[in-house]
């Protein structure tokens, strides 16, 4: 099958890769670029574990063709911290013990960051509504909502 050369920026770094037309973005991120923070959950857009930012908007990387990101900017969970300084949302998740097995956490954190960018002080209902496509199978939702609230109240949600 013909491979397509694409170029994009991921976590601030320019990368060139050859992709097949049916390659999914998640597989390129994990298997070619070795950024395994992005998780492969359901693979059909039901669970939110594979959430990444594409040009500053959260999208599901399991439902995005790699060929379609040519020329775009991607941010994964690995790109959220600045050097050793964690993003305030990551700190809030740690402080509030909003992590159990951790599999949903990268998607949860990125979606939560997107929420606060749109709505810096959401109510609990607004948090639950925005996060509704991110599933935590440990069912640790109470702590996750608490963490997002704490991050919003701390006013620390810098843009990435």
């Amino acid at each position: 099958m013909n491979e397509i050369p694409i170029e994009f920026s991921i976590n601030g770094q320019k990368r060139k890769v050859l992709v097949k037309p049916n390659d999914l973005l998640i597989n390129i991120i994990r298997d070619e670029l070795y950024l395994t923070g992005t998780k492969y959950g359901c693979g059909i857009g039901e669970c939110g574990a594979c959430t990444v930012f594409l040009d500053d908007e959260p999208v599901l990387s399991c439902l995005t063709l790699a060929a379609a990101v040519d020329g775009k900017e991607i941010t994964t969970i690995e790109g959220l911290a600045k050097g050793n300084k964690l993003h305030p949302m990551q700190i809030a998740f740690l402080k509030n013990a909003a992590v159990q097995c951790g599999f949903c956490t990268p998607g949860m954190i990125l979606t939560a960051v997107a929420l606060l960018k749109e709505n810096p002080s959401p109510t609990e209902e607004e948090i639950k509504d925005y996060m509704r496509g991110n599933i935590c199978r440990c069912t640790g939702y109470v702590q996750i909502v608490k963490a997002i609230k704490a991050c919003a109240e701390g006013g620390e949600n810098e843009s990435i």
């Binding site: 059909i44 857009g45 908007e57 063709l65 925005y130 509704r132």
Partner: protein, 283 residues
């Protein structure tokens, strides 16, 4: 996953040319949120994915001479963020807010939801009650198809192989202020609808002056309930009318049973959704 070719043209004209040349081999995609799961399930034999998500001229919401035009490539998020949609097409705005989740809404498009022609397409019932008209284009020209004539069966439409939806038009007289949309799913997020109900209602001197009702997931296609509408017209609004209309709704729907709900339940709940919507709009 199956193999296919991938092209992402930058103009509508290019898309129409490729459609003309390749015809049945092509599947147009924008957000891919429906198509990629089909491909993974090996339910879609397309040889060529034509990605129209980068075409700016298909992405707009505008008002011109009192008519609202929505480009087929407009995402569900763009519908939610649009003042025009919020104020003029509130029934569509509500359906957009209930659509999947905020992340999928950044990818999924209004044109894709319609062209996919699922009986459960969430933007279809609101657009049906708004009497939306689709502008359909091929390299040979443009034609207009009212949405009520667009669907011909589950996943089937009147679109010919060389055609695409380019925009959705809502006429001035159908822009509404008193509309509602109710979605019944197994859960709130990401759910494929068990049943949906869109309604626009005008009551004057306690009589039904104008009513339009459409439902999703209760028939092979998203359905306008024309017989129920006809029954309601010019009748006095009271409990007896609502009870009789519920029976009409249950006669008019034609659901199947599937993994989400039985046909009997869908028929029953169609009446309930009617009652909820009607009561919401008269109060």
């Amino acid at each position: 996953m199956n193999q296919f070719k991938y092209i992402s043209p930058k103009t509508k004209e290019e898309v129409l040319k490729i459609l003309k040349q390749e015809k049945s081999k092509v599947c147009i995609v924008a957000g891919c949120s429906n198509v990629l799961p089909y491909i993974k399930d090996k339910k879609l034999p397309a040889k060529l994915l034509l990605d129209i998500s980068g075409i700016e001229e298909l992405n707009y919401i505008k008002e011109s001479e009192g008519e609202v035009y929505i480009g087929a490539g407009t995402t569900i998020s763009d519908l939610i963020n649009s003042k025009i949609i919020r104020e003029e097409c509130s029934v569509l705005h509500k359906a957009a807010e209930d659509f999947a989740d905020p992340i999928v809404r950044n990818s999924a498009t209004i044109g894709g939801n319609l062209a996919d022609a699922s009986p459960a397409a969430d933007v279809a019932p609101p657009l049906l009650v708004l009497n939306a008209v689709l502008e359909i284009e091929s390299i040979n020209g443009k034609r207009e198809v009212p949405l009520k004539d667009f669907f011909t069966g589950p996943r089937k439409t009147v679109l010919r192989e060389d055609e695409m939806i380019s925009s959705i038009k809502i006429k001035n007289s159908f822009l509404n202020k008193n509309g509602c949309f109710i979605k019944l799913g197994l859960r709130q997020a990401m759910a494929i609808s068990v049943a949906t109900m869109a309604m626009i209602l005008e009551v004057e001197k306690n009589k039904v002056k104008n009513v339009r009702i459409a439902m999703g997931s209760i028939a092979p296609i998203p359905l306008r309930l024309l017989k129920t509408e006809e029954f309601l017209m010019n009748k006095e609004v009271n409990d007896d009318l609502i009870e009789k209309a519920i029976a009409k709704v249950r006669e008019e729907v034609n659901p199947i049973g599937d993994v989400r709900a039985s046909a009997e339940y869908r028929r029953y709940v169609s009446g309930i959704l009617f009652k909820r919507a009607f009561n919401q709009l008269i109060n």
